[in-house]
């Protein structure tokens, strides 16, 4: 009986208490720990100021839910701040840098996975090492370059710097994916009459769609959430991205505008959440690298 029930849980064999101790309890902690901040963000975003700044010990304090939900913080964001521009900036920068990174990553990943050329191995490792240099170090020389090219305070300062960490990432993910595709498929296409480039575009890329999608989604999320470069390279309020704009414009000195802050965070995470939910199946297939032939 216990055995049959145990197979339902899937992970842990044995007595019922073992399943609770080793499976359900840790899982509950994990789920609550992961989701609670999001819940807190949601509640705060729709909580009126009166409730927000109520003393903790007040009789009518309800910290975990709200009795009078309001959209005043959202309206404040769009009317009193440049949130709409920030959203647009973030979208524009993230999309463009993702496209650049995908284009370079596809070609580089393919070359590293398939072509035999001198120093191929060293080059692959080199690209990976650049990914390991932390942005907190890299922004100092990059700031210099951005200034030299007079790109400071323009979206291009980010569109051109994000690929520095996106391209290595995409290259490695796609290289791994290309390696799972049997090379006979391409060889066959080349015998069938395609050039190498044609075989790559017509045979390899369509098969690699899950990998390309996950690289794209990941790159998009990374640029959407990026903070340090955006903070350093952009200064005027109308140029900022969502992560920087929300933090720099809604925390004034030591005053935190909690309601708009959380509303901004909420709205900022919606596009990413939407993209993930649309492509989640491809995304998982891309990471596990499964080509079904």
């Amino acid at each position: 009986m216990a055995g049959r029930a145990g197979s339902g849980a899937g992970m842990v064999e044995g007595a019922r208490w073992r399943r609770w101790v080793f499976f359900y309890v840790p899982l509950t902690f994990f789920v609550v720990g992961t989701l609670f901040p999001f819940y807190w963000m949601l509640v705060t975003a729709f909580r009126p100021d009166g409730e927000l700044y109520r003393p903790w010990r007040a009789v009518n304090n309800t910290p975990f839910w709200t009795t009078q939900p309001t959209v005043e913080h959202v309206l404040y964001l769009f009317k009193q701040t440049m949130f709409a521009s920030w959203l647009w900036n973030t979208m524009f920068i993230a999309l463009l840098s993702t496209l650049i990174a995908l284009f370079c990553g596809l070609l580089a990943g393919y070359a590293l996975a398939r072509l035999r050329f001198p120093l191929a191995g060293g080059l692959g490792t080199g690209i990976f090492v650049t990914y390991l240099v932390p942005p907190t170090l890299l922004f100092i020389p990059l700031a210099d370059i951005i200034r030299d090219f007079r790109l400071g305070d323009t979206p291009w300062s980010l569109i051109l710097t994000y690929p520095t960490f996106l391209i290595p990432f995409c290259t490695w993910l796609l290289m791994g994916y290309f390696k799972t595709i049997p090379k006979e498929l391409e060889e066959c296409a080349r015998i069938d009459g395609a050039s190498r480039v044609r075989a790559m575009i017509q045979i390899v890329f369509p098969i690699a769609t899950p990998g390309i999608l996950s690289a794209g989604i990941f790159a998009f999320t990374l640029s959407w959430n990026e903070f340090i470069y955006a903070l350093v390279f952009l200064s005027s309020p109308q140029q900022k991205t969502v992560p920087v704009g929300v933090v720099s414009e809604l925390i004034r000195g030591d005053v935190f505008f909690w309601g708009p802050l959380m509303a901004g965070a909420l709205l900022g995470s919606i596009p990413v959440a939407l993209i993930y939910s649309f492509f989640v199946e491809h995304y998982v297939a891309g990471l596990t690298g499964a080509v079904k032939g």
Binding site: E184, L185, C188, I191, D192, A194, S195, R198
Partner: protein, 363 residues
């Protein structure tokens, strides 16, 4: 339709010399099988013909063109791969039409050719399916179909049947042979399975360690192996090898070993003469041994003890011990013996092979 010539063909990877001085003339419409154990260079040779591997040295001619520097698409060849290599994102129809589309054939012509090929292979019903919805045998047919729609000058097969189960393999083997007789296109076929090689090939090329060991018609390889390797590789169960001393007695040559002593037939005696007193390897196929009868003389029969009995239905394989030597014999299914029975075997004197111990070449 074209002949294929390989002249002093060599392939070297960084450390490995995979193909060594291969010279081969494949005639127009001929079906040639390259066979050998894994790592013998057969696939590499085929891939050089296809243009998928660069040629280190030597020359390949297809038809009357030297193709060394031609990309695969310009060689007018078609290849069938072991893992089928069907394009998973395309339907069967598109898989077969891909090569024709690449060559900008008009649409009606493509449709006609795909239909024709599908009919030949019996896969008309599958044209709209994706490769993942097909069984192994069906995929193999599609892969063959994709090759034949283009009417190439040469077909290349790289172990095309190895991923199929035994029964299907036999069936596809027959189909491939029938197909070749119908299409009359030059074909080069790579396999490690000597049965496939013998049944399919007009001629068979046995390779080992990058060298060609012997080129010949199947029965020629079987009957007159050029060396010990070919003798052991062709035929199943493999030929028995016994080290013997060539002895001179009573005006004849004898092959002498602690297990038995047989008279060298006159045909071989001349060639074996110089080896008098030396050790050579005697080879005898399991099917050239039989249970001795009263009429078999002592000069080509000997005593053995049965070790293992393997009844196969149509025949029985016996593992026998003759002195220190283990010998496999293929006998009639009516023979009733069991472990440790004593048994007298006779060998077919004309079908005994001798090999030089040093060079391993046939004597």
């Amino acid at each position: 339709m074209a002949q294929v010539m390989m002249k002093d063909l060599n392939k070297k990877y960084d450390e490995v010399h995979a193909v060594k001085d291969v010279n081969l003339h494949i005639r127009d419409k001929e079906f040639v099988v390259l066979v050998g154990p894994s790592g013998c260079g057969k696939s590499t040779t085929l891939r050089m013909v296809a243009g998928l591997e660069e040629i280190t040295a030597g020359e390949i001619t297809i038809g009357d063109r030297i193709v060394n520097d031609l990309p695969p698409k310009d060689r007018d060849i078609a290849m069938v791969f072991q893992n089928y290599a069907l394009y998973p994102h395309m339907t069967v129809y598109d898989n077969m039409a891909f090569g024709l589309k690449m060559r900008k054939f008009p649409k009606p012509e493509i449709a006609k050719r795909v239909q024709d090929a599908a009919e030949i292979l019996g896969i008309q019903e599958l044209l709209k399916r994706k490769p993942r919805q097909l069984s192994g045998g069906q995929r193999q047919r599609v892969a063959v179909g994709r090759a034949i729609v283009r009417h190439p000058q040469v077909f290349l097969f790289d172990e095309p049947l190895s991923n199929l189960d035994a029964k299907l393999r036999v069936q596809m083997r027959v189909e491939l042979k029938r197909l070749h007789e119908r299409l009359e296109t030059t074909a080069i076929y790579v396999t490690h399975d000597q049965v496939e090689a013998m049944t399919l090939g007009d001629r068979v090329v046995v390779m080992k360690d990058g060298w060609i060991q012997q080129v010949g018609e199947p029965l020629e390889l079987y009957g007159k192996p050029a060396n010990r390797f070919v003798a052991g590789f062709i035929g199943s169960p493999a030929m028995n090898f016994v080290e013997v001393t060539v002895a001179d007695a009573n005006g004849a040559l004898w092959a002498d070993t602690p297990g038995f002593r047989v008279k060298v037939p006159l045909a071989s005696a001349g060639r074996l003469g110089p080896y008098r007193g030396q050790r050579v390897t005697l080879g005898i196929r399991p099917e050239d041994l039989r249970v001795a009868t009263g009429s078999d003389g002592a000069d080509h029969s000997f005593d053995t003890v049965v070790e293992v009995v393997e009844p196969l239905g149509s025949e029985i394989l016996l593992d026998l011990k003759a002195g220190p030597n283990v010998i496999v014999a293929r006998v009639e299914p009516t023979v009733r013996v069991k472990h440790s029975d004593k048994m007298r075997l006779a060998l077919h004197p004309e079908r005994v092979h001798f090999f030089d111990n040093k060079t391993e070449l046939a004597i």
